[in-house]
């Protein structure tokens, strides 16, 4: 029997070979695919590494084999292939202050008693000897029956920059809280309410005594007092609606009841060049500044008054110096121009004499006023009012023995701390005036009393003389060269000098008077 290949067998063989070849081919392309896929995966993996900058690790707990990827070199300076690839190497490089806590926490996790994931922040020693803040996060990929971890993988993230930033923010917050100004941030949360205070530094407590907690997370208007709201709320609303800076200066009270001046300012802020919902607010103490300003304002007012007074003084003095000089000039002119008789010469000489006397007295009075006005501080001493009155009575003895006035005194305050020459001059002027402007058909009564009232020493001087029509002369009574009676011997300076002397001693003087009834002067001084 001839052995020959059965055609069917050949066909089967061919099919078998083809199938084998096909399978082999398939096998090889599959392998290539797998390799390509793996390469792709590695590429992607590397890309993620690059993006996250995280160092990956894998720890086989049973074998105590710990491997890191190549970023260990870049981030921390260690070649991952040349290190002792075990957990001890890693633990040795954790900051001594952190290492105990970290290892306890990690072994707790490994024992299966922790959470699903493990994370810890610690300081990790770099190859160059510096420490970096690291956030380490790990996950179990293999556990035994008891839940103990057999294998885990994780990442180490360098958080030094974040840590630094956190530290910097803390410092900044401290600095802001130490600043004397109150600084706050507002956020426009919805359009129905005013912006809300989302941050305020501690200075609010130091400056105004307000507790931060009472105003944070509340709209700005709730932090304002009713008085401030009434005064500024409409303007504040308008400024906020228009996104405009708004500020005011106001006298406010702290919770301790102290009065202080503050400047309150808010302004909208832009974030990266665009309008935002945030506002910055500042409150600062301007008390000293304000007090100085108010002081300056009152000083200016005082100077204006003084200046006007001086202008008035110069007009009036020039008038009163010019008047007698005009008389002298006129009379001499007449005498030279026209030949006067002997009788006329005597008349003229008498007029010249009166004019020169008047001129002399006027100049003396003016000197007195200028001296009072020139002196900034007046020397004071303790004076017995009784002694001074007695002395003046002696000085005026001629007219007093002629007029025989009835002088009654009642001194509850006997000793005064005043300038001697001013006080003598004041009392002399008052008594002389009473003698001069007495009613001729009546006995002259003069009453002088001193007493304490509201912490002030009061001196009342009253007479029953002819009085002054105050209705008509109210503003003029203490003015310079104001005469109220037709007396050739009055120059209209007495009360002006008295007022200046009283005021130079920080006192006040007022007058009450009725024509034909009398006059009462009330002087007050600080004790």
């Amino acid at each position: 029997m001839e052995f020959e290949f059965h055609p069917l067998l050949i066909i089967i063989l061919i099919i078998f070979i083809i199938t084998l070849l096909f399978l082999l081919y398939n096998e090889s392309t599959d392998h290539q695919k797998k390799i390509r896929n793996k390469n792709k995966k590695i590429k992607r993996y590397k890309l993620i590494e690059e993006i996250t900058g995280n160092t990956f690790w894998e720890w086989d707990i049973k074998k105590n084999h710990l491997v890191f990827n190549r970023l260990l070199k870049r981030e921390y300076g260690y070649n991952p292939k040349k290190i002792n690839q075990n957990i001890e190497w890693w633990l040795e490089r954790i900051h001594p202050e952190d290492s105990v806590d970290v290892s306890i926490d990690l072994y707790k996790f490994v024992a299966g008693k922790g959470e699903a994931t493990w994370f810890y922040e610690y300081r990790f020693l770099c190859a160059d000897g510096s420490y970096k803040h690291v956030l380490d996060r790990g996950q179990a990929i293999l556990r035994d029956k008891n839940g103990s971890v057999l294998k885990m993988i994780g990442t180490m993230q360098d958080v030094s920059v974040i840590k630094l930033e956190e530290e910097r923010l803390k410092q900044l917050d401290k600095a802001i809280n130490q600043s004397r100004e109150v600084k706050f941030v507002l956020e426009n949360i919805d359009d129905d309410t005013l912006p809300t205070i989302i941050y305020i530094n501690d200075s609010i407590t130091n400056l105004l005594g307000i507790n931060k907690k009472n105003i944070v997370d509340k709209p700005i208007d709730e932090a304002l007092s009713d008085r401030l709201k009434e005064k500024y709320l409409p303007k504040l609303k308008l400024a906020i609606a228009r996104k405009m800076e708004f500020s005011f200066e106001e006298n406010v009270y702290t919770t301790d009841g102290d009065s202080i001046w503050i400047n309150f300012t808010i302004y909208p802020i832009e974030i990266s060049g665009e309008e935002s919902d945030f506002w910055i607010g500042i409150i600062y103490d301007i008390t000293n500044q304000k007090l100085r300003q108010l002081e300056n304002e009152s000083l200016i007012k005082e100077l204006i008054v003084k200046n006007n007074e001086l202008r008035h003084f110069s007009y009036i003095t020039s008038h009163n110096l010019r008047a007698p000089i005009a008389n002298l000039k006129g009379i001499i002119q007449l005498m030279l121009q026209y030949d006067p008789s002997k009788e006329e010469v005597i008349e003229y000489l008498n007029a010249l004499d009166s004019s020169t006397n008047l001129l002399n007295e006027t100049i003396e009075d003016l000197m007195k006023v200028i001296i009072i006005k020139d002196k900034l501080t007046v020397e004071k001493e303790l004076l017995s009012i009784e002694d001074i009155i007695n002395q003046i009575v002696k000085q005026l003895s001629i007219s007093i023995s002629e007029i025989e006035p009835d002088i009654t005194t009642k001194f509850e305050v006997k000793i005064l701390n005043l300038n001697k020459s001013y006080f003598e001059s004041i009392m002399l002027n008052l008594i002389s005036n009473s003698l001069k402007y007495r009613k001729l058909d009546q006995t002259l009564h003069i009453t002088i009393n001193t007493f304490l009232k509201e912490n002030q020493i009061v001196l009342e001087f009253e007479d029953n003389g002819i009085g002054i029509d105050l209705e008509r002369n109210k503003d003029k009574i203490f003015g310079l060269y104001q005469k109220f009676h037709n007396r050739s011997d009055s120059k209209g300076m007495g009360l002006y000098i008295i007022k200046n002397q009283v005021e130079a001693m920080n006192g006040t003087i007022t007058v009450e008077s009725k024509e034909n009834i009398g006059t009462k002067f009330t002087l007050t001084f600080n004790p």
Binding site: Y315, H319, R322, A323, N327, I331, Q337, S354, Y481, K483
Partner: protein, 131 residues
């Protein structure tokens, strides 16, 4: 021809009278008042309207301005012919300006008054009575 000189300065009044006496005019009647009130009283009492009034400003009881204000209110047919001259030693520009508010004030002169000045005024404002 009536002149009323109103001034509280007795020497100035004495001097004014002397000036008038040396001018030596006929029919010159000079009256002196020590203040505005005396002047008003004089005009009311005597019913004489002076053609020429000399008014000092700073006087007790009623000063020159108050006098001029009251004078405005007087009803007298002769008043239109009457003119006032302010005589003062003041240098205060406010007062000099204020004088312009009064129609009957024709001059603001500084003391002392001279004979020439009085003669000038008489010639200017008192011609009618001269004739």
């Amino acid at each position: 021809m009536h002149i009323l000189y109103i001034d509280d300065d007795t020497i100035a009044s004495f001097f004014f009278k002397k000036v008038c006496s040396v001018i030596n005019r006929n029919n010159l009647v000079i009256n002196i008042a020590k203040n505005g009130k005396e002047a008003l009283d004089f005009i009311k009492k005597t019913d004489v309207m002076p053609e020429l009034l000399f008014v000092d400003l700073n006087m007790p009881i009623m000063d020159g301005w108050q006098f001029l204000d009251h004078f405005k209110e007087i009803n007298n047919q002769q008043k239109e012919k009457s003119v006032a001259v302010i005589v003062s030693s003041t240098l205060n520009p406010e007062e000099i300006d204020k004088a312009k508010e009064y129609n009957n004030v024709v001059k603001f002169i500084s003391k002392p008054i001279t004979t020439e000045l009085v003669e000038d005024l008489l010639n200017k404002y008192c011609k009618a009575s001269n004739a």
